[in-house]
Amino acid sequence: MKNVWIVIVLAALLGASLPASAQFDFSKLNKLGDALKKGQDVAKKASEATRELTEAEEVEAGDGMAASFLGAVPLHPDAELQRYVNRVGRWVATQSRRPDLKWSFAVLDTPTINAFAVPGGTIFISVGLLKRLKSESELAGVLGHEVAHVMQRHHVKAIQAAAKTDLMKMIGSEVVDARSGASPLGKEGIKLLTSTGLTIMSKGLDKADEFEADRIGAVLAARAGYDPYGLVAVLQMLAAVKQEESGFSLMMSTHPTPNDRLTELEKFTSTLDRFAAQPQVEDRFAKVLAQLK
């Protein structure tokens, strides 16, 4: 007991004799604690903004984009045509590395030449493009190219890169609660991804992504049992299209030229040749198109 008192008195004397600046400041300790916690939050939020999107977020952003497409151009009214394109597309998508996504295919009622994919697996093709195709293998080539974009997450990656700064600002400003529910990005975050996505659709992807989608698209068509030259045939058809006769095509204005795409695909001639004897499936394609008005 006596020793404890001696220690206390000595400590008090020691404390009293120290210059004020060296005295232990408890308020500073609190501030340090706060700063540490904030640092953790910032780091957590930064990682929220830059981590890869979950599949759920990808689908949500893609659905937002798809809803906008459908607001701009109506669905083609022919249900038989829609079902046909869905069956062909789903079979091609089954050959991809993401066979169990909710793949949906929509024919848009516009005479222009267009085909697009949005994140999450909704794919659009215009009736104008469909009418210029000659076989199911050509359709499989076009849809294969679009499936490839989703399989390789081309749009998702481009959207994330473009939205990164804005996402960080949004998350940092606590508009988005990084700790909440299923989508940590929240409604505002998804809205940002959707609008960024639409901007990217209007500008187009990098050439390398388009060339890769052609290569993988042809491979997917071949895996689905089709003649992979279907995609080559479509590119040749597009190469011969006179723009002033076909109207403005968002697709064609955002892709590399068909001639360049053909030159790139030519590198893989030996693979294409190996499967060139697979069916083109012209009859049932012609039947479906013939019953259109």
Binding site: N86, A106, S195, Q243, N259
Partner: protein, 192 residues
């Protein structure tokens, strides 16, 4: 030409109708160019007889496609048809029409139809003149989302099984195909 001006109107009308239909069919043909010296063959097969040797930049009309081959016909009236490797063809390069048209009116039109090897190519025009706007960046950004249409799209989707069955009915069989780019770098999982 065995055409007598005083032939009855019905035959005359039929003649011009046939011409119009024929010209529409010709105009709808794709015109492509060889991008290298290549062979036009009798059948879509490297071992079949060479019908004609084609110089680079030879203009041809596309008639049919089969596997890796395209059946084409030269643009001159008596040109033969035959098979050319699809990869040896490209879209025509757009050139401005510098030379004057050969003749005008009906005869000039007929000349262009049957003999025209010159392509009149307008520079890539804005669609505004045609009025086919379709989907533009502005329209896309300004569009009000249509979630009901999206729900309809979901309803029209095919299941995996449905799609597989549909493929079977056309005798489509899934094939094992390596992605040539992945195979080249020996990445694992190159088959899927």
């Amino acid at each position: 030409m065995p055409f007598k001006p005083h032939l009855n109107r019905f035959v005359l009308a039929a003649y011009w109708l046939a011409l119009a239909v024929f010209s529409a069919a010709v105009v709808a043909q794709e015109v492509v160019n060889t991008n290298r010296a290549t062979d036009m063959r009798a059948a879509p097969d490297d071992s079949s007889a060479v019908v004609r040797m084609l110089a680079p930049q030879t203009q041809v009309q596309v008639l049919e496609r089969r596997g890796a081959w395209t059946r084409v016909k030269g643009v001159e009236p008596e040109a033969p048809s035959g098979w050319v490797r699809m990869m040896h063809l490209r879209g025509e390069v757009i050139i401005e029409q510098a030379a004057p048209q050969r003749g005008s009116g009906v005869m000039g039109g007929l000349n262009r139809l049957f003999g025209g090897s010159q392509q009149t190519a307008a520079p890539r025009a804005q669609s505004a003149t045609l009025g086919i706007r379709g989907l533009s960046p502005e329209e896309l950004q300004a569009a009000s989302p249509n979630p009901q249409a999206l729900a309809k799209v979901r309803g029209l989707a095919a299941s995996k099984d449905e799609a597989a069955t549909f493929a079977k009915t056309a005798n489509l069989a899934a094939a094992t195909v390596e992605d040539p780019a992945e195979a080249a770098t020996n990445k694992p999982g190159a088959r899927r």
